[in-house]
Amino acid sequence: MENRSEKEIPSRKRPNLVKAHLDAITIGLKTLLTRKPMTMMYPEVSEEWPEGYRGVIIYFYDKCIGCSLCSQICPPRAIKMYKVPGDKRLRPGYDIGRCIFCGLCVEICPVDALAESKVSDKVFDKLEQMVFDPIDWTFFTKDLQKEQETRRNKVRVIIDEEVGLRYESTVTK
């Protein structure tokens, strides 16, 4: 502010008092009358996540070679290696309560035995239910895939020039 007068500073340019009050009230009224809520009515509808969304990790037992790379890279140690009866190799188990959905395990897996699902909201009753050993994880994967397909009332989020976000139902009928 040293050498310049107050008026030259861009942020100090103020509109006239009455106009400013009217502007504020008008824009408030305009929004009140013309705009719809931006809210997505979750959980009545849920978002169809965009391509590549990183949700709960799913596991394919058959593809896995038991290299344990996933358990090594996992930042919160959500993946640990388990001994499975009747299997010589160690297999990864999964603690969904620890997982931060970073997706690094998927990226390090050399054989595509892990993948990201598009589900990120799962509810469990007990803490113990959130820990999966390799076999459980395989079954959980199946459930999750089914759920992903059968979940109803999904909406796609679309960025819109006028209203910011628009929600479009994925049901085409």
Binding site: M1, R4, I9, P10, S11, R12, R14, P15, L17, A20, H21, D23, A24, T26, I27, G28, T31, M38, W49, P50, E51, G52, Y53, R54, C67, L69, Q72, I73, C74, P75, I100, F101, C102, G103, L104, E107, I108, C109, P110, V111, D112, E116, V157, I159, D160, E161, E162, V163, G164, L165
Partner: protein, 402 residues
């Protein structure tokens, strides 16, 4: 310390503190407008004499945690310091490790990092603006900013696959290529936001009531801003032309970056700088998308090493890492990197002893640097101005506490 008892009311006098009879007011840790911290405000009547910020409520030992983890696993840990600004907060760390590893990300990766950084900056500024609004009890600004932030979270989601914790920049490049339809979506978001910024001006920035609350409040003169080590928009609002992006990391050199600088140094100016930076960030992303070079988004060395069974993913724009990536070994050495976050400048000092984990990682976050302003700025203002000053500083407790 004497204590005088009014019937029914204990007023603790702080005796001779600067010769004044003061009331000690605990704002926080449970208070509608304190954040995860406590401010002990000393009041003489309604005038603030002193403020003692008491931090540490969300301290999570980030620096120590970093020493216990491999380089790649550190990224998603330190991201949690400022979850609303995830790319900016991790980028200098990634660059530091890259320099110690002696690898260079391809140009396309640099641009993609810049794009996400600017998207993060916009959402971080909107978050700050929203909180600044609710601190003045302007709930509409609060909701509008948070609603419109959703647009940019969605953009980030499209680019990285996560709304907040992207872990996007990793050593050697970025994890995903630009998805289809991103340019189009951004174009729309830009036009929407530009229009919305005008509406923000009308309902908030030029609103006489808001102006009355912010103008000439918490004035931080240029000299003091430098002496106190303020950073980010708070520094620039005082007329200091400094922005860590001027140090030309990522793609900022080619984008011809110029900082937004204010002059007056008061709360209004700080808000103004944020609003203009949102505008400028939109512009920067636009430029970056136009100049985006072709090529790989990840360092060639690692791409070659990636397991053959999953190479097809890389063609589809998703990175696949080689097994050795977990235990990256750096050269021994020390390095300091910095970047401009939404809240200000973050500095990393990485010391490596040649192992697979950082030997020491020192982090100086912008909020930690801006904390001193809580002590200095409110002095002499009314109690009512305290939230206004807090809101204008865009302070983020988890970031300061690390």
């Amino acid at each position: 310390m004497s204590s005088s008892t009014l019937p029914g009311m204990e007023v603790r006098e702080l005796g001779t503190r600067q010769g004044l009879r003061l009331i000690e007011l605990n704002i926080g840790a449970q208070h509608p407008a304190s954040g995860h911290m406590r401010m002990i405000v000393y009041l003489d009547g309604d005038v603030i004499v002193d403020v003692d910020p008491d931090i540490g409520y969300v301290h999570r030992t980030m620096e120590k945690l970093a020493e216990t983890r491999e380089y790649v696993r550190v990224i998603s840990t330190i991201e949690r310091m400022t979850i609303i600004d995830a790319c900016n907060v991790t980028l200098p760390y990634v660059e530091a490790v890259e320099k110690l590893l002696g690898i260079e990300p391809p140009p396309r990766a640099k641009y993609l990092r810049t794009i996400l950084c600017e998207i993060n900056r916009i959402s971080s500024h909107l978050y700050g603006l929203g909180l600044g609004g609710i601190f003045l009890n302007h709930s509409t600004m609060y909701m509008w900013a948070f609603g419109d932030r959703e647009v940019f979270l969605h953009l980030a989601n499209m680019l990285t696959g996560a709304r907040l914790t992207h872990t996007y920049a990793i050593m050697g490049g970025v994890r995903r290529d630009l998805p289809q339809g991103f340019r189009d979506a951004f174009e729309k978001a830009k036009r929407y936001m530009t229009r919305r910024l005008k509406e923000y001006d009308k309902i908030f920035f030029n609103n006489p009531v808001v102006r009355g609350r912010l103008e000439n409040i918490g004035v931080l003169p240029r000299r003091d801003a430098i002496l106190l080590g303020a950073s980010g928009p708070n520094l620039r609002a005082s007329g200091v032309e400094y922005d860590a992006r001027m140090t030309k990391y990522a793609a900022y050199e080619e984008l011809d970056f110029k900082p937004v600088v204010g002059e007056a140094g008061d709360a209004l100016e700080r808000i103004w700088v944020r609003l203009r930076e949102i505008e400028y960030s939109l512009e920067l992303i636009d430029r970056a998308l136009k100049q985006l070079p072709e090529g790989l988004f990840f360092n060639e060395k690692y791409v070659k090493m990636a397991p053959p069974a999953v190479k097809h993913w890389i063609e589809k724009g998703r990175v696949r890492l080689p097994g050795t990536y977990i235990r990256l070994k750096t050269k021994p050495g020390e390095i300091i990197t910095r970047a401009e976050m939404g809240h200000g400048e973050i500095t990393y000092h990485l010391v490596s002893d040649g192992g697979i984990k950082p030997y020491r990682l020192r982090i100086v976050t912008p909020s930690a640097r801006n904390l001193i302003l809580f002590k200095e700025l409110p002095k002499g203002h009314l109690l009512m101005d305290f939230p206004a000053i807090y809101g204008s500083l865009d302070y983020f407790p988890p970031e300061a506490d690390r």
